[in-house]
Every structure is written in structure tokens, then in C-alpha cells.
Symmetry: D2
Subunit: 354 residues, 4 copies
Amino acid sequence: MSSSYGRNLTVTIFGQSHSPAVGVTVDGLPAGLAVDTAALARFLARRAPGRNEWSTPRREADEPEFLSGLVDGVTCGAPVTAILRSAAARPQDYAALRNIPRPGHADYTAHVKFGGFEDPTGGGHFSGRLTAPLCVAGGLCLQLLRREGIEVFAHVASVGEVEDVMPIEAPVDGKPFPVVSDARGEEMKALIRAARAEGDSVGGSVECVVTGAPAGLGDPIFDGMENRLAAALFGIPAVKAVEFGDGLAASRRRGSENNDAFAAENGKVETKTNHCGGILGGITDGMPLRVRVYFKPTPSISRAQTTARLDTGEQTELRVAGRHDPCIVPRAVPCVEAACAIALCDALLESRRY
Amino acid sequence: MSSSYGRNLTVTIFGQSHSPAVGVTVDGLPAGLAVDTAALARFLARRAPGRNEWSTPRREADEPEFLSGLVDGVTCGAPVTAILRSAAARPQDYAALRNIPRPGHADYTAHVKFGGFEDPTGGGHFSGRLTAPLCVAGGLCLQLLRREGIEVFAHVASVGEVEDVMPIEAPVDGKPFPVVSDARGEEMKALIRAARAEGDSVGGSVECVVTGAPAGLGDPIFDGMENRLAAALFGIPAVKAVEFGDGLAASRRRGSENNDAFAAENGKVETKTNHCGGILGGITDGMPLRVRVYFKPTPSISRAQTTARLDTGEQTELRVAGRHDPCIVPRAVPCVEAACAIALCDALLESRRY
Amino acid sequence: MSSSYGRNLTVTIFGQSHSPAVGVTVDGLPAGLAVDTAALARFLARRAPGRNEWSTPRREADEPEFLSGLVDGVTCGAPVTAILRSAAARPQDYAALRNIPRPGHADYTAHVKFGGFEDPTGGGHFSGRLTAPLCVAGGLCLQLLRREGIEVFAHVASVGEVEDVMPIEAPVDGKPFPVVSDARGEEMKALIRAARAEGDSVGGSVECVVTGAPAGLGDPIFDGMENRLAAALFGIPAVKAVEFGDGLAASRRRGSENNDAFAAENGKVETKTNHCGGILGGITDGMPLRVRVYFKPTPSISRAQTTARLDTGEQTELRVAGRHDPCIVPRAVPCVEAACAIALCDALLESRRY
Amino acid sequence: MSSSYGRNLTVTIFGQSHSPAVGVTVDGLPAGLAVDTAALARFLARRAPGRNEWSTPRREADEPEFLSGLVDGVTCGAPVTAILRSAAARPQDYAALRNIPRPGHADYTAHVKFGGFEDPTGGGHFSGRLTAPLCVAGGLCLQLLRREGIEVFAHVASVGEVEDVMPIEAPVDGKPFPVVSDARGEEMKALIRAARAEGDSVGGSVECVVTGAPAGLGDPIFDGMENRLAAALFGIPAVKAVEFGDGLAASRRRGSENNDAFAAENGKVETKTNHCGGILGGITDGMPLRVRVYFKPTPSISRAQTTARLDTGEQTELRVAGRHDPCIVPRAVPCVEAACAIALCDALLESRRY
């Protein structure tokens, strides 16, 4: 426990890397939402592997099959469940891997947690494959939000030391490499290629912006938008930090520099600056919401690594075979959008209560 | 909603800055925990204002009164409720403040959220005063954790641009200014004094380390230790970023640099480095858990600020009167420990299920 | 765990029979509800002991002190916490009782649950005293419901074999003994007096009706109104059965007798009969909601009973000293109204989401 | 919301009567449980329709397909998801039914709840078909409980006015008609045949007993075993009352008759009688747990009924076509066992926390 998120919109993710299917149940979507399956497919394609040189060439069948919750393509108020079948069967040779934990992965911690009964193949329930159902849920939420005039869009904010222009002001999801500055994008791609060439990987970050969200979303103390968004975003594998607004930079500033002055424009309260990232006291202030998510480098690398056998306690050397993303950040962009959309929908549905 | 946190240990915080009392209910503490009230008082004193030059001179009566859950000072399995009476009555002149939102505070967002019925004095339910009951709950959790051999300790990691030595390796809570390097502490204090002299404030960060936690705490996807800790930590006012292990630095590295190699020492799996901060796949790996929390500068400053009246929409100028912390980071140190202890206890109690 | 109820309106009850106070936190009440303290006091008085011959002569100070959540008597959106101080201190002689569980009480099960650390006096957290904070929360919810045109009212449906007229069609809370038929009430009182005269007690039931609730409250499967109401009602001590609509009688009928035919009246769908008690598929149908709650006889009786010492395992005889209600059913009437009101508010707030 | 149940073991049910599949996700099952698929199939067969004269002749493909959570048939700690494909496609003529709510069904209330977007075929998410995934989840829980020495078994306690011998003392699940007294069973079957012959249906009740549960399961106030069991049991369609122990009979008794005296036998506290049904103060006392569940007669009857069109408001006559169970009680027996097993597992897992 727990692979569920949310109170008024509950997203439950199931599946392992090599289970017959991965999937998601979304309970709480309002009835009457016509699902745009073409838009959903485009969204999922942005996460799918095998599309270009900076992602793993492994291809997955990422077309969701809706098992419930829809009548003629429209939500009916019942829980929506969608599954994605696994393309390949469980590998036959996984017994060999069972006792050799990959550094940086959850192999060892899952082993302790589940007492040796964990699914040892491909990361099991901890696999990046589970972001596919996350994106199905998020893709539905994005469509609900759009109906309310709320847009969520993200970009690759950094790869290694190279940073894109920030903040992002409009979607770049039409680009194969989702950055604002294509020049910076080329530098990032060069870093990724270099890492791959050396059997290595590289980390980075994603910035996500939400426009059109009304003031008043989120709740005090433990249910603020920061708490809610962070609780969703850390559900994406490899996320190690989450920052709102100016975050770290704000921690180095003075209050007189960092406070966002209020101004009344046409009967609407606004702030001229947005250091706080659209959230004050955990509640949206009507300005664009801004969050940045930092990813560690993909732990799967083909270079030799030292590890310890779980059965014999012997030290051993490991090379992670197979084809892996030298940088997961480009494919993580829609995952970040998905997690943000889920958290926003849950807060939005709750705010409509009275 | 919601001022509650946790599933197996539930912490519910109530009160406003000037309500008759603030308090907390902790449901789920195991029966049989003898509460060390002297240790609790020492812990709360570290958060209390008015103790030194870098905190507000306002003094609060921070001695908790236990209303329930204890028999002869020992937990009896029923919910533990403790309250802290407010020293001063609600200010008489608060009507004047009702329509003038302070920049950087929750005044405006609470106004939108609660339709003008929000408590307008001293930040209401969003006040830093609410960290007192958080620390009562956290102080109890720390005692439970200590019984299990788990220690939680934090320090001022930075004020403005000045950074303390990191990571912290042993508690510094005996020091009036909780830093590892007293020389860096002096630099920090100089920054705080300078800000105060100019009617300004300054931000910073707190690093917290947990030792002795067993491997296997935390759960997949949305209930990982990162999700759980972040959801608790963003409950502290002014937190704008949360970073685990090497976090941002990791996002700039290669996988071969960032992966923590496993080694078997005396039949126990360990890692020689700890870039991941003791968490892999959301689950503790038995190494020290490390988290850093970034605070924006206190929004309450006495310098003139621009704001917009909520009733007339007119622009106006505001100077926040009263005595405020020029830097909340030193007093936030025990708050971070409290939030981490609560999240750990909840995960620990859940892990004991089977 | 757990002394909390509800998702969108969360009620958390704390306290033990002899703790310094008992109390309740209600999180989720909409801001802007002006609390009618006189009406609340009248409601609480109906539950209070010592008012008449069929309740324990012990008097409690049942005036709630609001610690938080109100500004000038109006809810402000923050959690509302109210406490009731205990009149008397913990009895000095309770050690003597610790190992002698009273039959029919939770003494033994609490002992097992809490490993001997349970509060052994007066039932601890399991005491009927805890229905006082339940009624504070319920009293607030009743005021919120009334604002929406929803009325909740209950009566003594039976004492022993004597049944009142059913269903109740209008409130009888002005009567000292809350029954529809005063003649039946006299018979009930005679039963209660007879039980008391013999140092015994007697059971009974309460019927509760809700009028004015809109169609559409409640949710499928596990969050139907029956599930929600039952989960709240079994929170009242001594409740052993909960029945909706014709319940047991329906189980003996044929479908053609039991189905409620639909009719359209003035553009509104209604049913001519109401065997289902206003709930179909877990969701309100707009007709009066009807539930009946069955109470076992008060386990506290002054007659000699056989029990087993928990320390020595010896059989012993016990006479429960003190003054106890020979029948708790009359005082349980407002408790049932309170539990129903809480469950309805939670469902109502959730239904307003979209 | 919400089609989920439980805190430490979470059961999420999805699907509609004619959606491509119905299914369930069980999150929180301990890793290492070897699923006995033959035993599960036998359990599901007891619920499946079409097996005998007193159930609908419609046959369903009730073999669950496990999509996740198992490795070589053993739970791996990840959520277990199983689906049951629907045999038949959505009926083509359902538009005709959309505006004609069947009396006694959720058609009208679902229409109000979901604003006309509800699934109008076969009861949608409110269909009895959803008890198939409930039984999958319950069947897994039964296997976990058995491993702990806990047995759960139920029987048809009544059909119409005919009652079986009570309480049940050993499983009767080997019998095609699950009653203790086969003579009473014949009387019940005669009632069912008579109802069917007249195009009608008949109600009844199920009694369930749990043996081997340790003392100490369940929690105070809102999380008592009665609250937990009732919240699960009302998830079964057509349940209108839930009664623990002697329930209604207890409400007519005196305390001296109803209290269960404690006795110490071989160092173990027991009660000689079990009027309380094994639960005191919401917590199990180690004696057999006993609950009775009352079902209204199947609302689907082929006799003519009056209803109101939702589009035009006109009164109309309806005969529910198709083949329906004249009495659902025999098939509800495993459903009651399933719901009880789920509630017990959740409580058991929680009790193991410390």
C-alpha cells in the first residue's frame, strides 16, 4: 500500500513490468465527459518508448483498453478502468537476476519489503512501465481540466548542467524534443548521446506550468496544493526533488524581494510577479502555478557496477543488459503533466463541494 | 480540508492564530508509550518564539495540556489530544485588516477559499502558530521512534547564500543556533541581523537526517517515503521545495556517478555512498535518510509593500506591524524534525502489519 | 484507530470517561455557518444525563467550549474543535477494577487490544460519555442541514417488547420522553422502572427519519447511504443492528409487495409507498429516509454477575456500583440524530462537488 | 465515489453489467500468499448464476483473469487485479429502457446522480454482476484468513417466513442449497418456486459466522468490527439490514439476560453465552463472530409494475423482461462470506501493526 492517490478523484495503479497487463482505475470522474481518444493517444505517444534516439528502442503497445466507466465513449459516473497489455511475456531467465540487486533501483528495497516474494523482473511494480497507466489517468484529467479552461504543460527544464529557458509560457508538446529553446535542446541531446555512447545515463529536470486554474484550490496544512502535487509527483520513478515557484532561489532571498505585491486589475486581484508559483498558504491565487521536478539519472546503465548478492552476500559485478533510456527526462515530461493534472482534478472536485 | 495527516497514525491539527487554543489529536499511537514530558518541553522550547535575538520577541505559553489519551502519563490507545492556550485575546482592531491582504501570506487565498468568512487575524488557520501543535505531535512521535532506535535530527542548512556543513551527522539541538559549523552560524546570524535592521527578512533551508530506520519502510508509487515526507513537510508554512538525498545535484550527474553501489558487510547489505538519501523506489534501504527543505523568507516585513484592497479594489500601501521573525529557519528546525517523525511513525506502524 | 469518520466532513472524537475533557474536531464544515448556540444547547440537553427518572442521576457539565474554527460564532473554514470538561477527577480506586472486566462492556476487549495499558475507568474511550462530543458534531451538522431544508428527527421506537407508532412523521423532541404515542411511552416507562427496581436494565430501539434530502446523495457499492449511515450509527455504544426502510419485514415479502412504484407528480418523480426507506442502490430517491437502530440493554447493572479476573484467571462475582441508566434508549435518540446528520452532511458535501 | 473499501487492505471494484469486463483491485495483500485457484473457482461457482432452478439461467464466464500482483501464482506485494470478461455485448436496444426506471432498482437514483449519463443497461455499476469481483477479492481474503486459522461460513438463514436452524456451526458450502436443515431448505425452495411461477420474487436473510478470529480485532467508535462489517455488507445489492449477535432479540431483553458472563478456561477468557456475537465495544472477544444480513426480494419481476417515464413524466407500465433470480439469497451466501472476509482481513492487517 498504497498505489492509490486522491480523495475525491481516486487513481489506483496496478501492474508490474512483466505482468499480463498494467492499468489504472479512476474513480470520481464526473459523468458526462466525452473522452477524446485521439487526443489521449497523442498524449500517451509522448511517453511511449522507442520513438527516437534518446529513448529505449523497446516498443510497447500503449493503446489503452477501457474495461469500464464509459458508455459510448462518455464517462457514466462509474469507475473508469483502462488496461495496457504487456507486449512480451515474462522473461524465462529471471531467476538468475533475483538475487543481484541493481544499484539505484528498487530491487533491494522491494526484496526487504516483500520478503523475497517481490516480482523480480524489470523492476516489478516499481518499473517505469507503471507511468503508462499514470498517463492514461492523467490524460483523462487533462481533458476534464481543459473543459474548465485549465491548461497544463511542461518541458525539459534541464539535462545535466544545460538549462532551457524558463518559465515555459505555452505548450511545446508538438516538438519531438520538448524544450522552449531548440538551441538548448540540441545541447541537451548532445549530452544524452555522449552518455549513451559511454554506456551511461544523465539526469535532468522538468518544469510544469498550469494556467487558468481558479484561485481557491487546495486546503490548509496537509492538503495544500504543494502537498498534493508533491505526493503525486514523487509517484514518478526517479524524482528526487520538487520545487514550487522560485523555491531554492527564494530561500536565498530577502522577503522584500520575494513577496509578490498584489494589484487589482479590472476587479480581479493579481500579482505582478509570481515568485510563489501561484500558491499561497497551500491555496492557488489565480496566477500560473509553477512546479519543477528533478530526476536522478536513469539507474540502468550498461557500464559495470558493483553490487552484493542477496543470497550469498558475495560482492559481484553487474552490467544491466537490455536497452534503456540514457535520459528519461524527455519521456517524463507528459508524466509530470499527468501527475499535476490528477492532483489538480482532485482539488478542483473537492473545491466544488459547497 | 484537510488538517489531518496519515493513515495508521493520524495527526489532526486545529486552531487559528488567535482562537482560544490551538491543538492536535494523534490517533494511532501504540498503547504503553510513557511520555517524557520534560523531553517534550525541551523539544517545544526549540520552536518557541521569544528566546533569542533572531526570533520574534512575542512569547507564547507553549506548555501543552493533555486532554485525553494518557493514563498516568502513559498512552492508553485512545486518541491523544493536547492543546495550547492562546496567551492573548483576539485583537480588537482586526476588522481594519480584513480587506488588506499581506503579500506573501495566505490572507488573499483564504479570503477566496472561505468566501470572506476566514479568520482574518494573524493568519488564522494558516499561521505559523499552528506549528506548535505539529511539534507536540512530532515530539510524541520522536519518543516512539527513539524507543525503536531511530533518531531524527536537523540543522539550519542555509540562510540566504550561507551554507552550513552537510550532511549533519549528529544532533546539534543543544546549541542555541542549530548548525554544525558555528563559524557558518555566525555568518548566518549576521545576515539575519542585517535583514532585521532593514525591516526585512531572509530565507534559508533545513536539512534533516534520520538514522536507525530499518530497510523496508514506505510503499510503492504514491506512498513512498518521499511522497509521505513531502506531504507532511509542505504542511509547514513557507516551505517551497523538498529535496531527497543529492536531489538537485543528482539531476546534473551521470548514472555511473550517482548510483550507490551495494556492498555486503557482516551479512547486511549497505551502500558505500548515499546519493539517494536512504530511499530507493520509495522504500528505505537502511542507510541514513536525508531530506532538505527550503523556506522562503518570512513574508511579514515592516518595510512598505504594495497591495490591493479586497473591498474597493484600490491599491494601497501596507507595513506589517508587530514583531516578526526576520528568519524563521532556526525555529523551523524542530518543525522539520516533527514532520519527518510523524511521517516515519505512520510508515513504521504500517510496515508492522504483517 | 479510528475515532474519525467521513471524507469531506471529518469528525474526530477524543477523550475517555475520566480524561480531563472529551471533545471533537469537525473538519470540512463550510465557512459562513452561524452557530446557534442556544439550539445546540437544547440539542445536547436531550442527551445529557440526570434530567429525569429513567436516566442516571449523574450530572455532567455538557456545555461545549469552542477552541477553534469559529470567528464571532460563525464557522471560518478552519476545523471546529469543541471540548467538554469532565466534572469529576479520575477515581482514586480504579486500580481495583483494572482486572475485573464487566460483562457486556469493552473492558476485556480493550484490555486485549491495548495490552493492559487501556484506560480502566468508566469504560475509557468506549464510554457512553463519548456520545457527548458526537452530539456536538451532530448538532452542528443538523444546523447545516436545516439551512438546506433537511430535517432529521428520531423517537424511541421500542423499549423491550413495547413499540411506538411508526414511522415518525414529525419531531417529538419537545417531549421529555420522545415518543409519538404517549400511551405507549407510559408503558415503556413502566418497563424501565421495573428493570431499575430490580437492579436491571432493558434494551430497545430508535427510529430516525430524514425529510427534505434531495435525490442523489450517496454513492455506489461501499459508499451508499446505508453503508455511510451504518458506519456512523455503529459508533454509538450498544447498537447491535441497523435496518433501513422496511428491512426485516421486506426480507419476508415478495417483490411485487415490496417494490415502490414510481409516479410523476408535478414534474417530480416520487414513490407512493416507501418500503425502501428512501434509498435505492445506496442513493437517496428524494423520499423520506428511514432507519431503525437496535440497542442492547445497558450492560451496567447492579445485580450480581459472574466474571473472570484478568490477572489470576479466577472466577469472581461483580456488582457494578454507581448510578446507571436502566435504559439508554431515550438518551440515545439525539445520538442517532447526530450520527445520521454527520453521515448526511458528509454525503451532501461530496455530492456538491460537480 | 466510492467503489473502494478498506484502509490497510483496499478493495476497489469496477465495471458495469455490460461493460467489457468487471474486476477488482486488491491492494495490501501480504506478499507470499500462494493463491489456490481451484479453491477460488469453487468459491466463485457458488455465486455464479445458471447452476440450478432457483437462480437465473443466464450463464456468466466467471473465471477471473489475474492481470497483476501474482508471480507464479503467489502474491508479490503489488496490487492484485483480476477481471471477468462480460459474456455478451451491450444490448442494442437499451435506448428504449433509458427513461423507464424499474421500481426497486437504482435506475432512477443513478439517473439523478449522474445527470442522465449513467449506464442504463442491466443496472450499470449497480448490477448484481458486481458481486462477482467482490467474491474474487473475498475469495483471496478467505484464503489469507484460513492460513491464520480463521474460518468464515454462511448459510441461508431465511427465505420469506421460513427460517433455518441457527446459528450455523460448521460450513454447509458442499450443499447445492446452503442450509443447515435440509427440511427447512425444501420449504424455502418451495417458496422460491411459487414466487417464480407467479412472475414474482421473495426476500430472505443470510447468517454468517466467523470462528478462530483472535480477540482484539476492530477499533473504537467508528472503526469497530460492526462498523467495518456493515460498511462492507451494505455493498452487496439488496441488503437492507445488518444485525450482530442477538441484535433485535437483545433489544427486547434485560441486561441480566443479555450480558455474556466471562469465564476463564485454561488461561483463556471466554464467555459461556454469545449474545453479543463475538464483539464488545467494537472489538472481537475471541468467541465466534456472528452477523445476519437481510435482503429485500429481487426487484426484477416479470409481473406488471407501474413506473414513470423520466423524459415525459408519463405514467407507464413495465414488465422486466429476461431471466432473473426469483430469490437472490442462495447466491448471496458467498457474497456475505466475501464481504465479511474483506472486512476481517483489513482489521487483521491493521491489528498487526505493533
